[in-house]
Amino acid sequence: MKQTTLLIILGGLVLLLGAISVMIGPADVTLDASLSALIQDDGGPLTIVMREIRLPRMLLAIFVGFSLGLSGAAMQGYLRNPLAEPGLLGVSGSASLGAVLALQTGFAATAFYILPLSAITGALLCALILLVISGKSRSILALILSGVAVSALAGSLTSLVLNLSPNPWAASEIMFWMMGSLANTSFNHIWLALPLMVIGWTALLFTGKAIDALTLGEDAAASLGTNLRRLKLQIIFGTSFAVGAATAVAGAIGFVGLVIPHILRPFVGSHPSRLLLASGFGGAALILLTDIIVRVIVPSQDLKLGVIMALIGAPLFLHLIFTTGRKES
């Protein structure tokens, strides 16, 4: 399929799911009324509901999904490994830990950008640990296992910090930081995360040529003029900014970066570069869809996105382990 056709289809899907997303909510209003209140100010509460609650939730779903899908595709391209994904490798979990530390120490309240920046710092530390490990051993297993270890460590430290909080409600948000949710998002969250996500997206979208060259192997890529050191930094910082900023406002959402490139790979052929933008749109569509599903299944409660995402992603993950293992042997 041509790259542009694929992008148009995915873009259309995002628009469609976005429209459905703003029409869903606990307030009992007709589709007609809600859409017209969104476009035209009716002076009543419905316009505020549409513009200040449902619209930012829908937009944040797109931005978070784009970050996760794009990061997954870039990591897989760089590591040449279909199992690489920010959630599974502990990048999202470490970002959560950074965010929780900033919030609970009160550091986040000192300046506007401290919260996403500390999440990004958490993600960066994790990415560095993983790169040290993957540099030492080319084994897929070593990478995935160290991801599991970092995830577990970050998760337990997140729980510890939240349990030590003087606030009696803090411990109950462990689920949010591990499973992710878009409930109660506002434009404040978007202004907080979007600029930093855009920095990450830019870094990742410009890796296309280099990761295409990398499919020939590191030596061949280097001889083709690819700056491998720069590529590594671009991947580390790009992923950390995109995933860190997304996690700071939506919690750690796993499997998006795994599922989406896997679904889209057959449509782009053997060009990891073509997968980047497509996976971004695909990730946006998947988060929108999941956020719709959680609101349809239990409208009154805040079911976490990660619950649905793991139901879709975990079986696929097992399938991938099975097939990659067979290829290797």
Binding site: G25, P26, A27, D28, V29, G44, P45, L46, I48, V49, E52, I53, R54, L103, Q104, G106, A108, A109, S165, P166, N167, P168, W169, A170, S172, E173, F176, A183, N184, S186, F187, N188, S300, Q301
Partner: protein, 297 residues
């Protein structure tokens, strides 16, 4: 063998005298003590702490829950700091050997039932759902602590002050209570009765909630409340509290004098809930003034 008998004699005498002391200690002394001493008490729950502090003599109080020292939720915290605290564990309370242990019906269940199994007297107090539950709890605590006279006086003062609020309110703005996780209280809650006594209508009751329920931000907005009463922010940070300050809610707070929050007076079944009523009545007057202006136009 020759030395042994006198030793034997001595020890028999010692045992005999020790037994006498024991007899005296276990039977005579306590009886004497019970005759003129009021029962000692340990409280394991914040709200029973308040009732104990309200009614007991200082020498009756053995220990209070650790929450009693926290001035953000404990109305008598200043008095409470004079007493040791417990964290509601059975073993802590057991070694204190109070005459009676008090706690809430829905708190420390495992610990308090273990104390009962160990033969201690435990009295559980129901949370208050209306003002008459407050007076009933004060009366019960008074009887338990042999402080019925004091309790009667407190109840009389409370009822007199409550009656002063029962004026006819022509203008009843609609208020929504909005606590952590979007919890709003229904008609069986002290918070509801505080709103009503201050001349407000409770949106939680309007929505048909009995004790209360979680309300999404957008569902709250759709009720177009005149006033949103949130909880004061706690220490640290919690997403559960962040949602009660969603920016979309600011659109309804523009003509409010300031952010209206609940405080420690709302927490427990003490006579000070009437302070909460008085504070809220002032807020109502502030809303009523611009309202009466528009009425007259």
């Amino acid at each position: 063998m020759i030395v042994a008998p006198p030793q034997f004699h001595l020890s028999t005498r010692a045992i005999l005298s020790m037994a006498l002391v024991f007899l005296f200690a276990t039977f005579a002394l306590p009886h004497q003590a019970f005759a003129n001493k009021k029962p000692t008490v340990v409280s394991m729950n914040l709200c029973t702490d308040q009732l104990v502090l309200l009614l007991a003599d200082p020498e009756q109080i053995v220990s209070l829950s650790y929450l009693s020292h926290d001035a953000r939720t404990s109305v008598y915290a200043e008095k409470a700091v004079a007493y040791p605290t417990n964290r509601g564990l059975a073993e802590e309370v057991y070694i204190l050997k109070p005459d009676v242990t008090v706690t809430g019906t829905y708190s420390n269940w495992t610990a308090s039932s273990m104390l009962e199994q160990l033969g201690m007297r435990v009295e559980r107090f129901e949370p208050a759902y209306q003002f008459s539950d407050i007076t009933a709890n004060i009366k019960a605590m008074g009887e338990l602590l042999h402080q019925s006279e004091k309790a009667k006086q407190v109840i009389a003062d409370f009822e007199a002050r409550l009656a002063s609020f029962q004026a006819d309110h022509a203008f009843q703005p609609r208020a929504a209570l909005y606590a952590a996780n979007g919890y709003t209280s229904g008609k069986s809650s002290i918070a509801h009765h505080i709103l009503i006594a201050a001349g407000f209508q409770n949106i939680g009751a309007e929505l048909g909630y009995d004790y209360g329920a979680k309300l999404a931000v957008e569902s709250l907005l759709m009720t177009s409340p005149d006033l949103i009463v949130t909880n004061p922010p706690g220490f640290g940070h919690a997403k559960a509290e962040e949602m009660t300050r969603h920016p979309a809610l600011d659109y309804f707070q523009t003509d409010m004098p300031a952010e209206v929050t609940t405080n420690k007076n709302w927490v427990c079944d003490t006579p000070l809930v009437l302070d909460a009523v008085a504070e809220l009545a002032t807020v109502r007057e502030a809303i009523a003034r611009p309202h009466s202006k528009t009425e007259s136009r």
